[in-house]
């Protein structure tokens, strides 16, 4: 009843000005797939809402070895990105068809775990986020963007405008394991990006979703891989390190115990897929 206004800015500048004016009380929404259910169920009662769909951020474009994903690009759009197959696979693993037509890359960064697993692929790609405000913009690594459970580096007045994804320099794999094979929350999501120098792994990015406060790299697992070849032993060691290092939780889908077990299994399976 007390919804005062629904803003539909036509540009990023207009969006940041509205945000500067209203401050944190303004609910910023992209695809609506996270915020609208809470409003519909009578859990949240926002006064002012800003929809970003018309702000010109619904692009996916590539240049100079980087793919720029606008914050409101939908997963359906991203599924057509051919330069980086893992992005398409990660997008395909989200929701059902209609959700993929609505849900956005930017919005997914704010999904409560175990949702929000698009970022698992982004982190493996070493993606950066562009944050804009009325005062300007800044770019920071996505790995630094998350600060805790449902908290980020986003300051008052800032918006996620773009995600910049470097094309992978190595081999990649991505697996989401849930109770169903589609349209399901993750028990665990794993993404791997391995750069090889001959047989030797020279750089490794191993990312886990659904087993921590936010999608997160597993430095110890990465450490177990770098310098070694990708073989049964290094895969085993990386899986064990990831399972030890992750911080799983219990929810309606799975227990902490099971999630940790599945980190071990799915890190192995993901790395085997890199190998295969």
């Amino acid at each position: 009843m007390n919804k005062k206004e629904y803003f539909l800015p036509q540009s990023v500048d207009e969006a940041t000005q509205i945000l500067a004016e209203f401050g944190p009380s303004l609910l910023v929404m992209a695809g609506g797939t996270i915020a609208m259910p809470l409003i519909n169920e009578g859990i949240s009662f926002p006064e002012n809402v800003m929809g970003l769909r018309r702000a010109g951020l619904d692009y996916v474009s590539g240049s100079n070895g980087t793919v720029q994903v606008g914050a409101t690009a939908t997963f359906t759009q991203i599924m057509e990105v051919i330069e980086i197959p893992m992005l398409a696979i990660a997008a395909q693993n989200i929701g059902g068809w209609a959700i993929r037509n609505m849900g956005t890359a930017g919005g997914n960064l704010f999904a409560p775990p175990p949702a929000g697993d698009f970022a698992v692929a982004l982190l493996a790609m070493n993606a950066q986020v562009k944050l804009v405000s009325a005062k300007g913009e800044r770019i920071l690594p996505l790995a630094d963007f998350y600060t805790g459970f449902m908290t980020t580096q986003l300051s008052a007045g800032e918006l996620v405008a773009e995600i910049q994804v470097p094309k992978p320099s190595g081999r990649t794999a991505y697996i989401k394991y849930g109770r169903r094979h589609a349209n399901t929350p993750a028990i665990v999501t794993v993404a791997a990006h391995l750069v090889f120098d001959g047989e030797r792994i020279s750089d490794a990015r191993l990312v886990l979703g659904g087993v921590g406060p936010h999608p997160k790299r597993s430095p110890k697992a990465e450490g177990a891989l770098v310098g070694s070849s990708l073989n049964a032993g290094s895969i085993e060691a990386a899986a064990a390190a990831a399972a030890a290092e992750c911080e799983p939780f219990t929810d309606a889908i799975a227990t902490e115990w099971y999630r940790r077990k599945m980190v071990d299994v799915y890190v192995r399976r993901t790395l085997s897929q890199v190998n295969g």
């Binding site: 009843m1 007390n2 919804k3 169920e41 009578g42 859990i43 009662f45």
Partner: protein, 445 residues
């Protein structure tokens, strides 16, 4: 009455309601709306067991569009039990909580408002003064002497004609165990399950010019719901006019009377049409579920695989209130020994109350958990005796003329025939003796 040649019975004629369904023109309850219609939302308990010491509506009343709140004091006959119509009692469930909350999600107060959003916001602003109490959640804990007692008659189980459980007795199980070569035991547990119909439970109650109330409802049972509503509201039966018949999936989930009485009350008190529709979350957490069952088996079996004694103790988790569980336990007790010829059977079926969302009817009412437990137990018996799973079932299968544990003679057995057909379907070659068996030929057992 069977005719030699059937004309349309046996034909796959197209659905009568099919054209409405594929064009979206079928009218479901949520598709009905009236001018001036109000929306009802429920204030629910956040905890499984508590004393309700007070409700503060003052902030809720300030929400623009708020019309009225209802508590148990507004409900003429607040305490009821659904199955009173078929002689099950005593009354034990409140329409709206009086002083004791017995499950998380229980209905405490109703709010009607001009819009659905206003009703939701008003509900979110209601303050409850609760004193939490220890909850009892496990059926076997609940019937221990020191468990918190949930029922005014002093036990946490339903009483069947002065007995503490539904009993079935045939022959002498202890004698059967003594004669058996093997004793096979098993514990089986099922979980509560949501009916999850595509359409959530809903009704619209509309006051008419003649003083009657028309209730549009997706109940599975029009009269059953009408009669209970009249009793709860203490109005003459002819004051109510129920209209329904089109249900977006039921599965047993729409045979409770959680919505119609309170929506009708609100319609009477406000003089305006009132819609009450469960949200998906309410449907999952607050409407009845398929109750959970815990079943213990002890079977006496001979070397050749015949079950000669079967003792079963079973606990139905009714949740906080009866709903349909006392009746489900009777159906369960009549079926859990299975479609087998067993001379000695002993069954104790308990209907137990816990601080949980009440269980109720669901597709397979009391029999689904029984079939699960006993058919897994049959495989366990087969393994113990050293038979294959088909053999143990053929050896024990009931035939027409056998006596069931509840002392009814079997009349239309076809267990053997469906097993023969299934074996054929999957290419499993049965020994000749099983291929020749017939449910209609009673042989020496």
């Amino acid at each position: 009455m069977t005719e030699s040649k059937l004309n349309v019975v046996g034909q796959s004629v197209l659905r009568r309601d099919g054209l409405g369904h594929v064009t979206g023109k079928t009218v479901y309850i949520d598709d009905i709306k009236f001018r001036d219609m109000l929306y009802l939302k429920m204030v629910r308990s956040p905890v499984p067991h508590a004393r309700l010491k007070g409700i503060d509506f003052s902030e809720a009343e300030k929400v623009p569009g708020f019309v009225r709140a209802f508590t148990h004091e507004d409900v003429p006959k607040n305490i009821y039990t659904i199955l009173c119509l078929i002689g099950v009692g005593p009354d034990e469930e409140p329409v709206l909580v009086e002083d004791e909350i017995r499950y998380k999600g229980e209905q405490i107060a109703a709010i009607v408002a001009e819009t659905e959003e206003a009703a939701m916001e008003a509900v979110s602003r209601v303050k409850l003064d609760l004193e939490e109490l220890p909850a009892v959640l496990d059926v076997e804990e609940a019937i221990k002497p020191d468990a918190p007692v949930l029922k005014h008659w002093g036990t946490n189980y339903f009483i069947y004609e002065d007995y503490h459980c539904r009993r079935v007795r045939l022959g002498d199980v202890e004698k059967g165990f003594a004669e058996a070569d093997f004793i096979v035991e098993g514990r089986y547990q099922t979980s509560p399950i949501e009916h999850a119909p595509a359409e959530t439970t809903a009704c619209v109650a509309k006051p008419e010019a003649d003083g009657r109330i028309t209730v549009y409802t997706n109940t599975q049972a029009i009269y059953f719901t009408l009669d209970n509503t009249a009793l709860i509201l203490q109005v003459p039966f002819q004051k109510l006019h129920f209209v329904g018949g089109t249900v977006g999936g039921g599965f047993g989930g729409k045979v409770d009377v959680l919505l119609e009485p309170i929506a009708s009350l609100a319609a009477i008190k406000t003089g305006r049409p009132v819609k009450f529709k469960f949200t998906r979350e309410e449907e999952m957490r607050c409407s009845s579920s398929r109750g959970a069952w815990r079943m213990y088996f002890k079977d006496g079996v001979t070397k050749d695989g015949r079950i000669i004694a079967r003792k079963i103790t079973t606990y139905a988790d009714a949740g906080a209130y009866n709903r349909h569980t006392p009746y489900a336990v009777t159906k369960h007790a009549a079926n859990i020994a299975g479609p087998y010829r067993i001379p000695n059977v002993w069954i104790d079926g308990y209907c137990v109350y816990t601080n949980r969302q009440p269980g109720s009817a669901m597709r397979g009412f009391g029999v689904t958990p029984a079939s699960f437990a006993l058919e897994v137990q049959m495989d366990k018996i087969a393994e113990t005796v050293g038979l294959d799973p088909w053999s143990v079932r053929f050896i024990n299968a009931y035939r027409d003329g056998d006596m069931k544990p509840h002392q009814k003679v079997v009349e239309d057995a076809t267990l053997i025939e469906v097993m023969q057909a299934a074996a054929k379907m999957v290419g499993h070659e049965l020994p000749e003796e099983y291929q020749k068996m017939s449910s209609q030929a009673l042989e020496e057992g």
